[in-house]
Symmetry: none
Subunit: 400 residues, 2 copies
């Protein structure tokens, strides 16, 4: 649904909407037992919620498409991820809580190894330690470029973030990573004329870095990808009329929330801290995004039992959220991360929406197969927000 | 999903994908028994496959739209048939295995009957025999036009194919068939200026044919429809990174495969021959389209029992395909051809996809109602290919 259609229908009231995103929620059957992580877990609060809700499964981006965290969350926030794209450089900066400004030019960097001919022998520089990465980043941070500030921050192992800050920067710049060993790093090239000045700066940075890294084997060169600037997303206040807040333990999700204009709330280090933060801020906002990460992390680890345990952990905060009396309570995921796949996947994601007028279906359990048979069927993830607004009495009639 | 999005995500690996198209697969309940052809047939191999797969029903073009063979297949090949259209003339040429060249101008021809005033009295010339059609085609083939070669080939009964071959031809030409008796055949008219030279040639052909057919009553005139040229479809190698091969007994399906860049494999005359061809070529390609025709033919005949028997015949090759060890095995149909309708229909079509990570659902039988309750629900047929690529590990993440 086009956001302009929704925007025209929005009315305000004092209802409260909660969206709990269980990262990487969907799973796959364990071949030994035939049960998915959700089917195997004792998530009785989620099951009870599903029994009182209308359920379905969401398609984050499109059938067969495996989403990254950016597209998966934007879809649940109501933004078509095929239309609104967040660049890799921007996500890298958001992911380390870097205080990105609107005109900053960000890129994802890799340290790599080159041989005497300047050809890449290892695109990941032997996965140097994060400590080494931090030392090298500190060295590169000293590079000076005319008219712009240079920020270099370590991310993890061989990965770092580069940000240039100044006037007139543009992000239409091709990757310098040739994606294959045996080739030389590419010079940065402008994809549109407006990026020519930025390209000059980037290439100047790379050449200076090459000198400073020359004796740092295996990290004796770098590659840059995903040049990007702050994407101009309409804010949730503008399109949905919502004063929205985000509660998340990981920087990436706080950053994504900022992109759509949410207030990011200070919280602690556990899911119980997140619940407490929700409680303390209940009166101040009318939409809350609460993010739970461990399900995705354990799925990425390929650890089925640990993902089951994570599902059981997030299950414990459901009664506390219900006790706050939300008008609409949604539980979903940004994508599936089956332990069987040990990574994000394209599979649909269980979803439940509770409200007094949700048209409860016959689903009794919160799992992949049960939810699919629910009242919402197979639904684009972008439909969650319009549906939430409707259930909250925040959308007027379309047409007379 | 836009093919440009898929194209960007494609990676290559050594997986094998098989798409078995059971033409006209979907059916309708026999009013005497309440069972569809699939429900009545003993297709135990298909049922076992469905039980191990994720199932659904496909919508070939759109809800309520009955597809021809062209759109039905293009959709399963991943091409939106509303965007990529194959003209009737082109399909007619492909359907008789005519060696169509890229710049050829093709049309579907009908012999018809006109009276002394030149008005049509029978648009199908009394459905003359195919033999008579062949004799008349041989006569028309003698017509000479300036600068182009003329090909006229019989198709069936009153139907023939006209192809003009030469430089600078264009297909923006309106039909000469007025679609009603009591009217005169229309002159060919250019729909765009670039087709004016071609129109002149077509009208010259028609006037010469009128003279040569004058004493051939009831086939004393002709009508031309569906002027078209080879449609510029991106090849499966470009958009999906697949080295694809087609195995089909009928020319039409071999021709449609050529349009999307598949290699057409020599095969025999039975479905067992098709299986053998698949076996012999297993190492040479990474995608195989295998076509089975009899289900559609028997459905078109309105012969319920014969369609059941055809389903049981194609069922026999399922174990042989599985024995080859495909990474992804899809079974579907280009459209429904219920014996009750004795023709193509708009109904959804059963679909099953097996892979190790398909997220098997609770479907136990391969039939219309069972599949609809499956994990894929009601799905656009164009989603089959992205889903197959995902299950084969051939699509990377969208966004970071």
């Amino acid at each position: 649904m086009d956001l302009d259609v929704i925007r025209e229908l929005v009315v305000k009231n004092d209802s409260k909407i909660v969206l709990l995103v269980i990262d990487g929620l969907g799973g796959l059957p364990n071949p030994d037992t035939g049960r998915s992580e959700l089917e195997a877990s004792n998530t009785r609060h989620l099951d009870r919620l599903a029994a009182d809700s209308v359920c379905g499964v969401t398609v984050p981006v499109g059938i067969g498409i495996t989403p990254g965290s950016g597209p998966g969350h934007l879809a649940l926030f109501g933004y078509d991820p095929l239309k609104y794209n967040v660049g890799r450089g921007t996500l890298e900066a958001l992911g380390i809580d870097f205080d990105l400004k609107r005109s900053d030019l960000a890129a994802r960097g890799n340290f790599c190894t080159i041989d005497e001919q300047g050809l890449i022998t290892d695109r990941r520089a032997g996965r140097i330690s994060t400590e080494t990465c931090a030392e090298l980043a500190a060295e590169l941070r000293k590079i000076e470029l005319p008219g712009v500030q240079v920020f270099v921050e370590p991310v993890r192992e061989h990965r770092f973030m580069l940000v240039l800050r100044g006037d007139g920067l543009a992000d239409d710049i091709a990757d310098t990573d040739p994606q294959h060993v045996g080739k030389a790093p590419l010079p940065a090239v402008a994809e549109r004329p407006r990026a020519e000045a930025s390209v000059k700066l980037v290439n100047q940075f790379v050449e200076e870095a090459r000198k400073r890294l020359a004796d740092k084997h295996p990290a004796n060169m770098l590659l840059l990808r995903g040049f990007s600037q702050w994407p101009e997303l309409p804010h949730m206040s503008e399109v949905f009329g919502l004063n929205a807040a985000a509660i998340a333990l990981y920087p990436m999700y706080r950053g994504l929330s900022k992109l759509v204009g949410m207030s990011v709330l200070e919280t602690g280090t556990t899911v119980q801290d997140e619940l407490e933060t929700l409680r303390q801020n209940w009166d101040k906002y009318d939409f809350f995004f609460v993010h739970y990460k461990a399900t995705d992390s354990r799925g990425e680890d390929g650890n089925y039992d640990a993902k089951v345990a994570a599902l059981e952990e997030v299950d414990t905060i459901i009664p506390g959220i219900i006790a706050l009396g939300p008008d609409v309570f949604m539980v979903g995921g940004d994508h599936s991360t089956p332990a069987m796949v040990a990574g994000h996947s394209w599979h649909t994601v269980p979803f439940a929406l509770w409200s007094k007028v949700c048209r409860r279906d016959r689903v009794e359990m919160f799992d992949e197969e049960s939810c699919r048979a629910g009242g919402l069927g197979i639904m684009p993830a972008t439909s969650a927000m319009p549906l939430a607004l409707a259930n909250a009495g925040r959308l007027t009639k379309y047409g007379a």
